[in-house]
């Protein structure tokens, strides 16, 4: 069945680094694929769409977002297709022990293609400030499980994320580089965000061990372990990495973009290779807002319009090795297209420290097509509080719990019995990750008895506690709930009055 209409985008400035194109020309889309770019007569029956004054490019790729886990969103599409992004990568939400949950919950669920850049911690990012940088939170490097996942789900994992944080030292960075080589994906190294972490010069080890094609995120941060020396000069270790072909990804985020650092780096020949947003619960309402906002910031910094567009299309497509399906308007490619325009006005762009710069133009996505299908744009959709604030419904039973069927309630009853035999205390200061893994094992055991698919089992456990469909590693989710409340709520939902009374 034909699911897309054929159309021609006419009158826009086409920017496509994959073919060296920059000029006003037509983009012809037939059967959801690019049928040609240039001066074409519109095929018969083709809809003609006037995009005069607009920029037409391959669909934008956001190399670093958070869709899953404690930093994710109830509606991951809200930071994807609704913002004009047609492909994106979850940067570290899951780890190898939660990749199955990531795939079960988000695989094929978003309009934009969603890839994973899992974290080296098996649990993935946990979002607990004090625990995140603790070397003991890196609970294992299970090589067989990584290889098994790569075999079972080819193409899902696009890079391996590691952070230079806290008490890690250089060891985990080198181990992560080794693991990235084993599973044959680029290393994605996070620097910056040292505000609550002990500053550790081992961050520079990331620059040393990264090879051509590996990526370093947050290069323009202004925390300890930055790319400039005390006099503002680019450190040789950073310049050497750039010269070797290591890619620098803006990953704007909440903490990691400084006008001062960025301007000094640009003046010394260190433009970014990739522009990404690092959108997460904490920054969708500012200062990151959207990939288009971050593109506007980089335009203001001094990148040219073609450079900015390449940094969200062809550059990340190559880095992610998805250049056979994204980032290009070559004939035969899936018709992932973003149409944007530069809006003139008086704007103020804040960096992540609140330092402002005036700007006179900004990117606004106006149309987006995924495999030739149009999708509406709404940049503000992600800012709805229900979308970014993960809240446990402590004072009421969410509506989703009322809709659970007998089989699902039976599963919850068994889970409740199993959890009653397991003891834990939610400790703010010492998050017990081993216990989180143990709770995941309890969940798995009960699920096996009930023969419930993973996706259904996860949603069944979320239902009594969440009004909005957030995702979180299930072991961490259970650990995060206070045990008496958890048991009581499961009683209330499953109708286990004898225990509840």
């Amino acid at each position: 069945m034909k699911t897309t209409s054929d159309f021609v985008l006419r009158g826009g400035r086409v920017l496509d680094a994959s073919q060296g194109l920059d000029g006003v020309m037509d983009v012809v889309v037939v059967d959801g694929r690019i049928a040609g770019v240039g001066q074409h007569g519109a095929p018969a029956g083709c809809e003609l769409i006037d995009v005069s004054g607009c920029i037409v490019s391959a669909g934008w790729i956001d190399n670093h977002v958070h869709t899953y886990g404690t930093l994710g969103f109830a509606d991951p599409d809200s930071i994807g297709i609704w913002q004009g992004v047609t492909s994106y990568v979850d940067a570290g939400g899951p780890g190898i022990a939660s990749m199955d949950e990531f795939v079960a919950l988000l695989g094929g669920q978003t309009v934009a293609d969603l890839y994973a850049g899992p974290y080296i911690r098996p649990m993935g990012i946990i979002g607990a400030q004090f625990t995140e940088g603790d070397i003991r939170s890196l609970t294992g490097f299970p090589i067989p499980e990584w290889l098994d996942f790569m075999d079972a789900h080819p193409g899902v994992i696009r890079y391996l994320k590691v952070a230079a944080l806290g008490s890690y030292g250089a060891g985990p960075l080198r181990m992560a580089k080794g693991l990235a080589e084993i599973i044959d994906v680029p290393l994605y190294g996070h620097i910056g965000e040292f505000q609550m972490q002990r500053e550790d010069p081992s961050a520079y080890e990331l620059f040393r061990i990264s090879q051509a094609g590996d990526m370093i995120a947050h290069p323009y941060h202004n925390s300890g372990g930055g790319i400039l020396d005390a006099d503002g000069r680019l450190l040789p270790v950073v310049a050497d990495a750039k010269a070797r072909g290591v890619l620098f990804d803006i990953a704007f985020g909440s903490y990691n973009f400084s006008w001062d650092v960025a301007e000094k780096a640009m003046a010394q020949g260190l433009p970014p290779d990739i522009i990404s947003s690092d959108l997460q619960q904490f920054n969708a309402i500012g200062p990151a807002y959207s990939l288009s906002h971050v593109m506007s910031v980089l335009l203001r910094l001094g990148l040219t319009l073609p450079q900015v567009v390449e940094a969200v299309t062809w550059a990340p497509a190559k880095a992610l090795r998805i250049d056979d399906r994204a980032g290009s308007l070559k004939t035969g490619m899936p018709a992932d297209i973003t149409v944007s325009r530069l809006e003139a006005g008086r704007f103020e762009f804040a960096d992540t420290s609140g330092v402002m710069r005036d700007a006179s133009e900004r990117f606004v996505p106006v149309r987006v097509f995924k495999r030739g299908r149009p999708h509406p744009i709404d940049l503000a959709r992600c800012q709805d509080e229900k979308n970014w604030l993960l809240q446990i419904a402590e004072d009421h039973v969410p509506a989703a719990a009322q809709a659970l069927d007998a089989r699902q309630k039976g599963f919850l009853r068994s889970l409740r019995r199993a959890l009653e035999r397991t003891h834990w205390v939610y400790d703010l200061d010492h998050l017990d990750l081993r216990k989180a893994h143990e709770l995941r094992a309890v969940f798995d055991g009960v699920r096996a008895q009930h023969d419930l698919p993973l996706r259904e089992a996860l949603l069944t456990v979320y239902a009594p506690f969440l009004d909005n469909p957030f995702t979180m590693q299930i072991g961490l989710f259970l650990l995060h709930l206070e045990r008496p409340f958890l048991l009581e709520r499961l009683d209330a939902v499953t109708g286990n009055e004898a225990v509840a009374a």
Partner: protein, 107 residues
Amino acid sequence: MSTDATWRTVDAVDPATSSFPALVRLGDERVIILRTPKGYRGVEPRCPHLQAALTTAVQMSNGSMLRCTRHNFIFRLSDGKGVNCVGLRLKVYEVRESEDGRLEVQI
């Protein structure tokens, strides 16, 4: 709640005329007093994350939570527990209105 906590009268704030949030000094302590739909509540003056001033913090969810505008860390006003930031806790204070219409903070 600490048993040796005492109620301290806030002389600098008049519920009828003052604007909220109000930053007050009580001995060595500084407290921001918020007016919420459920009554008054006190919080420490700076966010436990990175010490941003909470005088510009925003109430959410019908005044049950407070959002620091610096990095959008959110705290439950009932007990200070971090909502989206496990591992952090905001210091919160009971605030009551005395019979003669003055505010008292339990320190």
